[in-house]
Amino acid sequence: MTAWLIAPFLLPLAAGALLLFVERVAPRAQFAFGVAAVVALLAIDVRLLEHASAGQVDAYLLGNWPAPFGIALALDRLSALMLLLTAAIALPSLLYAGPRWAARAPHFHAFFQLQLAGLNGAFLTADLFNLFVCFELLLIASYALLLHGAGAKALGAGFRYVVVNLVASSLFLIAVSLLYGVAGTLNLADLAVKLPRVPAESLGLAQAACLLLLVVFAVKAAIVPLGFWLPAAYRNAPAPVAALFALMTKVGVYAILRVSSVLFGTEAGAFAELGREPLFAFGLVTIAVAAVGAWAARRLAGLAAMLVTMSAGTLVAAIALPGSAALPGAVFYLAHSAAIGAALFLVADAIADRRGELRDLLVAGPPPAHPALWALLFLALAAAIAGIPPLSGFVAKFTMLAGSVGAPGAPAFWSVVLATGLVATVALARAGSRIFWEATAPPPEARRLIPLEFAAIALLLAYAIAIVVLAAPVQRYAAATADQLARPQGYVEAVLATPPVPSPPRAGH
């Protein structure tokens, strides 16, 4: 089973490389090939999740070098969940793009697979430098995906997105090399052992490096003073790409969660709970700023981008909530918000395609063709985001808030989450009534409903419903994940103690 750990990284990498050939030989087969690769990835990820749910941590040694010297991959409950989430959202994104997208954007399918490889690698690696490499892999694919057939306006937004991420990468390298200079290792498990034993004279340097690491992850997660690149980049991205990008902020959140669990756990001495309070405060500020932005959004895609920022802020605040048990709720919310964020980008694009020249501008005009269908889908999504009972948002927010009861930061957390939830609801209601009710003209001629587009959105909504129907097992898994994160010793031991595979005896020496 351990050998399968490398599969979620290798499969999209190989599929991406092969797709370049498929593009030359049989361009029409690209879509089927890409979907097949994602379905296979989904199957592997389900199997890995099943395996990880038993509670053990598996490590895979690349090149068969023992852990602190080589590069290790590790699979625990959180990694398995993130892998599954990635494949589960990649599938509808690809379905929505459909077979016609390949003609519109050259190499789209190859870049899509490379982005998946980068995401999966980031979720699996147990090595900080390898995390940097995976970040770069997923970013370079995302630059290409973002700028496919982009107009002049998107080019400007794309340029700023690239520059911000390159500066963040420079900071990442400084933090990583500083850590190496102080502790002599970059393996996360090894760092967890060595950081608390750093001599007193280099303690300040080590702490600065760790905080710099958190700053870099906060840029990726779009936390407020560092997150203003997100709205322009996301609202100008093509819809299938934006849907996949809803996962990219989650990579930053994942990295914060992983590093704070393994390196800044309660037993880490001078590093215990490092950066918790500022992260909590900035998380809350992010939620508030994103709520104001959602209110001010002029396009439906802009509203979706603000809501993605808002969910990233909620997650970071919940993770960093001082001394609380909001973590199971946060894991639950992570799964919910990724699916719903992706769905909102797709619905915004589908509405824009059916509304004539107004696209998804939030002004009174003709409603989209098939108004009842799209209004119903939009209503369901809005209810899920706002946290109205029957849908996943309610369960997610409830678990998070219920878990935080009694924590010192709980009053601030409760008031910000609940107040901004109301603001988001109003913003969504206003957007819906502008588009569907304030009709000044009849809907444009009904475009043929493309079954794949509808299937993609329905699939994402089905996730939101499945999360509610299966709330008990999902919640158990989330609680077990939080439990595993709270006790990082298992992760450290598993990575450091996994022996290299013995080489087979040579015949006839």
Binding site: F159, S170, L178
Partner: protein, 120 residues
């Protein structure tokens, strides 16, 4: 002496890089990012400790401890960082060129530049 030279070199490169990154034209920003990546690469290199005249490769006759060698790992890391940084700079240059031709100007923001600042 070599330490002073190296650290002030990194400092000057970083300062120049940050200053250029904050400028308005895309070409300046690309140059700034290049300077920043030079500074970062030197910094990674320096994190393996500055040693003069020591090799990173095992040789016969010297015991395999860090007393006799320089740390090889930062050199491997810096190689990776150089390759990635190089690719990113190429991509960014292509991007800013495309932006220059698509929009007719090479500023980083969407607003047109004030005419007295950039005469054409």
């Amino acid at each position: 002496m070599i330490e002073l030279l190296l650290s002030s070199g990194i400092g000057v490169l970083t300062a120049g890089g940050v200053w250029l990154c904050l400028r308005r034209r895309t070409f300046d920003v690309v140059l700034g990012l290049t300077l920043l990546s030079y500074a970062v690469n030197l910094f990674i290199f320096a994190m393996g400790r500055v040693r003069v005249g020591a090799l990173p490769i095992l040789r016969p006759g010297a015991a395999p401890t860090l007393e006799h060698y320089t740390d090889p790992l930062p050199q491997a890391l810096v190689l990776t960082a150089i390759v990635i940084g190089f690719a990113m700079t190429a991509l960014l240059l292509a991007l800013s060129l495309k932006g220059r031709f698509a929009r007719g100007e090479d500023t980083c923001d969407d607003a047109p530049p004030p005419p007295e600042e950039y005469p054409r």
